[in-house]
Assembly symmetry: C2
């Protein structure tokens, strides 16, 4: 039988050979990325015929660009160096523990690393990922711990008259424990979807690891799709494999917030949950923080734990369902009159929404409302959102 | 508030611009692939600085290559043509309904289409996908029907002393129906993993669509990982983002088959199932067909429905757990003495395992055992395995 195994593997290898960027018989492929023992990382590309190969990633020093809208820092780009063997290489500085993203650029075309099959889509960009372990980044890795279940589930949203898809994390042991669990609703940013938190957000790994370490309560995490005009993430609806866009109707116009009770109803009629305020949490990043704020203040008896991650918290809304956004500060007063157990704000020092959050904190401070505040380095980036998630989760349901 | 939405979208666009292969401000990006109304498909790549751009895909005429192991047909490759605007294009012939895969090649480097974020990994290759609808290919699309849930679930495998990951499809309505369901175990080929059938296999879409059309019974589908030395798919274990390989120990050595009762036990103690022979089916492709044959004949009272898709069905095993493979034909006799409701074989006319399957059919024919046989064009390819799945599923649990 070993013979047959060999034949099948050989067949698969040969027919797949057109799918490699090295020729059949040329020996083992180079490895990219290779994480070296000193936590530098070597990237390689076999491209003997290319004139120029570059790499761009969030581990490189950022570059400033001037635009008509102001100066922005963008991800840095460096040239890779061609060897006599036609293999281009670049070795990074020593990198701190983190999940990093990158692309390569071959003769001006932005691509994913042909030697690294691990990619994540974020809106309309596809990039490679790698993790330097250690410190907090170990929370982002799959470790030898009990793992929860990650499900893609469709639920009925009668308020909008559509079926919608969400990602549900149930903690290890849920299937067999017969226990009831608290629920944490976790919302993505503009242009994201129900896959965002479980992919770039590493939510399942963070929950698995914090629960295994005894730092977080076992909980269900429900990751919704905040684009209420869409049934599901790009590629997962009857529209087919269309180009993802951030230009979606009804994205921050009140309709998502208005329909949010539908998902709560679905979750509480489908999963074994503790269906009370003390066992419900909600948080979101950027647009999801905006959604979180308005969902929680419009439903002041629903959530005891509220988290705003780099949230857009501007106070006025000029179109859509005005009732959701009007009288924001009075609604905040009403929320705090019900004594939520946690109101949590995280923001990066260079986030373009920093002032926006400072203004909200001013409102809370002027009224002497208690909240937890975390200020981190950097801006409006996933690195911060993973930090905020891993800081917020241990505070829940205690 | 519209203002804030605009600012966030603008910020995301600008900081992401280094991640586009066209420059910021250069106007709308070209679209690739564009499925034209006559079912030709136009591919585009913006690569003004590239010297040569090609496309390779399974919709192109295949090419023969000579190797020391014989002549093999591999996926064809054609040159794209550069326009004055620096955009390279290629328009295909009229394509039949099907799910197609492709890559581009820029100055000799095999890449995914930078304008198409929809990719699927199969073993150590990453390619783009698109679907030409119509006929059977409509089964592969997400349609406006009720959708089942797709879960990534970890279960205990005490026989091997590890936790393992599988993909579980529960049909639409499972969560709330309180009914019990039949279970179909669906196994992948060599080098694949528990994601293979739900990705290139389009199993969730095929099941959703066949159930919605009334052609298949609502059922649970359990997609296991056939590499018993692995806990889960590459990237989903504590090994991290390692390079996927087909060279895995214990792949066809009896250990997977021996441990299979563990997954049945998990499923039947976790989901609402009809736990009897009449409500269990098993099928697999290639190595998974081999696993299917030996699991079913070693457990003749377990499955009433058995499907071999381009299966490796060689009769002898020289290493590993010999007890699983020895006395194959006597075990086949024992299986048929229990009157399974369906024994199904599908094979492509040019499959390198064709003779292997002919030999098995000879054994069945000589004993006058009843089986269903489907012979299709083409070889050892996913197109056939999607066809076999969509033919097999309507025959189950009737």
């Amino acid at each position: 039988m070993k013979r047959l195994t060999t034949i099948i593997a050989l067949f698969m290898s040969i027919t797949a050979f057109a799918q490699q960027n090295l020729s059949f018989g040329q020996g083992p492929q180079p490895v990219s990325p290779e994480i070296n023992s000193d936590n530098t990382v070597t990237f390689r590309m076999a491209a003997p015929d290319a004139a120029k190969v570059q790499i761009t990633g969030d581990f490189l020093p950022s570059q400033s660009i001037e635009t008509e809208y102001g100066t922005f820092d963008i991800q840095g780009t460096v040239d890779m160096v061609k060897g006599a063997d036609g293999i281009w290489t670049y070795t990074s500085d020593v990198l701190k523990p983190e999940l990093y993203i990158y692309n390569m650029i071959v003769d001006g075309v932005k691509i994913t690393d042909p030697l690294n099959v691990y990619t994540i889509r974020d809106i309309n960009n596809l990039f490679n990922v790698f993790i330097i372990g250690g410190d907090r980044a170990d929370l982002y890795k799959v470790n030898k711990v009990e793992h929860g279940t990650v499900s893609k589930v469709w639920y009925d949203c009668p308020t909008e008259g559509i079926k919608r898809r969400c990602t549900v994390y149930t903690p290890a042991g849920y299937e067999t424990s017969k226990k009831k669990y608290p629920v944490f609703y976790l919302l993505h940013g503009i242009g994201g979807d129900e896959n965002a938190w479980s992919e770039l957000g590493r939510a399942a790994q963070i929950l698995d690891n914090l629960i295994a370490q005894g730092k977080a309560e076992p909980m269900i995490v429900v990751m919704t799709n905040g684009n209420i005009s869409e049934e599901a993430a790009p590629g997962e609806t009857s529209k087919g494999f269309t180009v993802p866009t951030m230009d979606l109707p009804k994205t921050m116009d009140g309709y998502f917030e208005n329909a949010f009770p539908d998902v709560i109803k679905f979750v509480e009629s489908t999963y074994r949950v503790k269906a009370d305020k003390a066992h419900r949490a909600i948080a979101g990043l950027s647009m999801g923080g905006f959604h979180t704020l308005f969902i929680s203040i419009n439903n002041p008896d629903t959530f005891d734990y509220i988290g705003l991650f780099s949230a857009a918290v501007d106070r006025e809304q000029y179109n859509g369902l005005k009732t959701i956004y009007e009288n924001r500060d009075q609604k905040i007063d009403r929320l705090f009159s019900k004594n939520p157990k946690l109101f949590w704000i995280g923001i990066g020092k260079t986030d373009f929404l920093y002032e926006n959050n400072t203004a909200l904190r001013g409102v809370l401070d002027s009224r002497k409302y208690k909240y937890t505040y975390l200020e981190t380095d950097g801006g409006h980036i996933w690195r911060n959102w993973r930090i905020y998630l891993s800081e917020f989760v241990p505070l829940l349901f205690k």
